[in-house]
Symmetry: C2
Subunit: 442 residues, 2 copies
């Protein structure tokens, strides 16, 4: 085994589960391990305490005449439950064929450690880097990065940079270099329908009074028409339409409809008419029910008219939808569809805008060239459907775009048992970092 | 306090909670108490064991030349939870003004004990009854009478009679004699919508795959139109329309719309267009959601597309709707509204037809005369919205109609804390029994 892999395994063995206080010391050991590694690489590390787990910063030599690249990653990992579904010890990295099995292998230790090794190789070979590099590795990504935005605010100046690079997204498939240039935003709300003042006997009163479970269902049903087009007035008004090059690019990818069916196990697709599954997932906004509940949900029957029922909605947003405006439009729509015989209660939840950067900008083109050099194939330009709030924080606070250079493969099992990272991608990641820093040189 | 009230209190003190095995011996003591009471009244009691709690039968002298009246009641009571909401000890009968507070006071000890005392008075005064009487008192009504239908089957011959009388329904208001001549039937089903094979990230996949929570809501929403008319094809085909005399009679009762609002605490009514609240509750069929659930229902947010969602429906039925046919029509409708991208699973539940008897038949007229004599007012003829499966069993197995001569007042709090029965109704019940047996004489 190569010394680089041996070192990676050492890093992987530290069970840095951020959500479980049982692993608190391990998370700290992991930060210590990084500090030592950065020191031995020739970077200047800093350990920053937060109300939670520490942030590790490491800086290369800084020269004024070259750009500064911020490389973000997170050294904390997801819990390993259900542990009995793992085929190997979740914290004993195991090489089987081309795959390294371990919690954190892909998400995110493997991906940012490849960048670290790329920097180490360049420094060893050239004694210097083509750009200034600042690593920013947090220990709380898997618990929602509660202390990261405040940290960025506080260190705005010392983290000043020209571009950010993150490997924490997916690749279309093995060997296919992928630049993610957009993420959807999100806006959440819960609503509750109040009807009778108590649960009623559905025999005694049924037929004459509003049933909140029915009303909630009708309101949910009012969100889309039969073409799955969202019916909230003005919902699409500020949506940036997909550009032709994007639709062409996505159409050239491995069949997204088939992939979506296979990955979800659904019997069929169901989405906005006129768009492919990838367009629906990456480039179009949604109105989804994340939860609905009311009345009796146990075994057998209980013939009540429930006094209340609720639903949890989340909207995925695309540029240039404003999350707060969407929540306002949605609230107005929900209220309009609540009959006078009931009362609606709406609670607004977390929200953040969509993120998009221009993959044809000079930074975007540099990223594409680096990807092509690392993988010897033309990079595919995609967006992703989820939200990465950190990217927006970097944009808002540090004021720079982020290059999302994912190394996660579709079957890498992040957040699940048997998480794995291929040796191929580990090595490609090292090449990617070297190429990227060169391409970002002035 | 009168000896009759003293004796009633003795009966009430026995905590015959059928659902809780802790009270098993008390339920038995209650049956024993009834056996003794029937003996002392001059009737011939029988204790019948069942797989659950015993059935108590008591017969008067039987003469071939007069009709036989079966009087049904139940000596078991509901649990007393939440016990701290009682203002008095739930099993220590307490007289406050005109009201006797105790669990079982109205439901059903007070109501059937009044009938027993009526028989006792008649026997004391005349040494004989105008008709043959058979009391049938079960100890499992509050747990769904699991052993009653088999018992009726088994004792079909010895329970042969001409008419059944039951006081276990409601009065329109204090002093207003009420004959209930119809009850709605019921048909229940659960359905589940299966979508993706696992809970999905609503960011990654949202917009392209079916969301079972949304689909369940749409299916529920398809049950009614904007006039609250049920949209299941053929649902109303066998409904017997309300007759003019019924609508007139119900329109003459204290304002049903206002009463329904007051009793339910709803901000407004919502029911089938063209009918009053009482007509909707007593004479029209319904499609109600008793429960709906899917996805995340806890605090905060979890942005999933749930793999499945479910709903529990119950249909209240009116003459001549066939429960099994309604379940079939409903299932067809639900299946039709499930998109191809999902799979629907339907589980049929319990069901029973509506019950109706002619209040203008000779038995119905006798009941009306008896009510008028007991309360000195013209009886109101109503139906009720709930179902009493026992009544249908008596009809199906014994082959006779039941006179539902309710003594329960709107504020008697059955199944709730502070259950009570008025002394007025206790005494009226005794008079009612005496008048009824006389009116049912050949």
């Amino acid at each position: 085994m190569s010394p680089q892999l041996t070192e990676f395994f050492e890093f992987l063995r530290i069970p840095s589960v951020s959500t479980d206080s049982k692993y608190r010391d391990d998370v700290r050991s992991c930060a210590d391990w990084l500090i030592n590694k950065f020191t031995s690489m020739g970077l200047t590390p800093e350990m920053h305490e937060t109300p939670g787990h520490p942030v590790v910063i490491a800086r290369s030599e800084t020269k004024a005449d070259r750009p500064t690249v911020l490389i973000y990653g997170h050294y904390d990992v997801q819990p390993v439950d259900p542990v009995n579904e793992w085929e190997t010890d979740p914290f004993e990295p195991t090489l089987k064929g081309n795959k390294i099995y371990c919690r954190g292998a892909t998400d995110n230790k493997g991906q940012h450690f490849a960048h670290m090794l790329g920097v180490e190789e360049t420094l060893k070979e050239h004694g210097d880097l083509p750009v200034n590099v600042v690593f920013l590795l947090e220990g709380e990504e898997e618990i929602g990065s509660p202390n990261l935005a405040p940290f960025l605010e506080q260190h705005r100046e010392s983290l000043a940079c020209d571009i950010c690079a993150v490997s924490d997204t997916g690749m279309i498939g093995p060997g296919i270099p992928t630049l993610t240039y957009g993420l959807r935003g999100i806006a959440c709300l819960d609503f509750k329908i109040h009807g009778p003042s108590l649960d009623l006997h559905s025999g005694v009163y049924g037929g004459a009074v509003p049933n909140p479970a029915t009303i909630v269902s009708r309101i949910i049903s009012s969100l889309h028409d039969e073409k799955e087009i969202i019916q909230i007035p003005a919902f699409y008004d500020s949506v940036t339409p997909l550009e032709t090059w994007e639709r062409d690019m996505w159409a050239s990818l491995p069949d997204g409809n088939a992939t979506t069916l296979k990955e979800t196990g659904a019997a069929g697709l169901l989405g906005e008419a006129g768009y492919t599954a990838l367009e629906q997932r990456w480039g179009r906004p949604t109105a989804e029910v994340n939860g609905v509940g009311g009345g009796y949900q146990g075994e057998g029957s209980k013939t009540v008219i429930p006094r209340e029922a609720m639903a949890k909605l989340s909207f995925r947003l695309v540029p240039e939808q404003e999350p707060e405006e969407i929540l306002e439009l949605a609230s107005t729509h929900l209220k309009k569809h609540c009959p006078d015989s009931c009362r609606i209660e709406i609670e607004l939840g977390h929200h953040g805008p969509a993120y998009v950067m221009d993959p044809h900008s000079s930074y975007g083109q540099a990223a594409q060239r680096a990807l092509e050099r690392a993988f010897s194939d033309k990079p595919r330009l995609i967006r992703e459907g989820g939200s990465i709030p950190i990217i927006q924080s970097v944009k808002d606070i540090i004021g720079v775009d982020t290059l999302l250079l994912g190394l996660a493969l579709p079957d890498c099992q992040i957040h699940a048992p048997n998480e794995n990272f291929t040796v191929t991608n580990f090595e490609a990641g090292i090449r990617l970092n070297r190429a990227l820093l060169e391409e970002l040189r002035n």
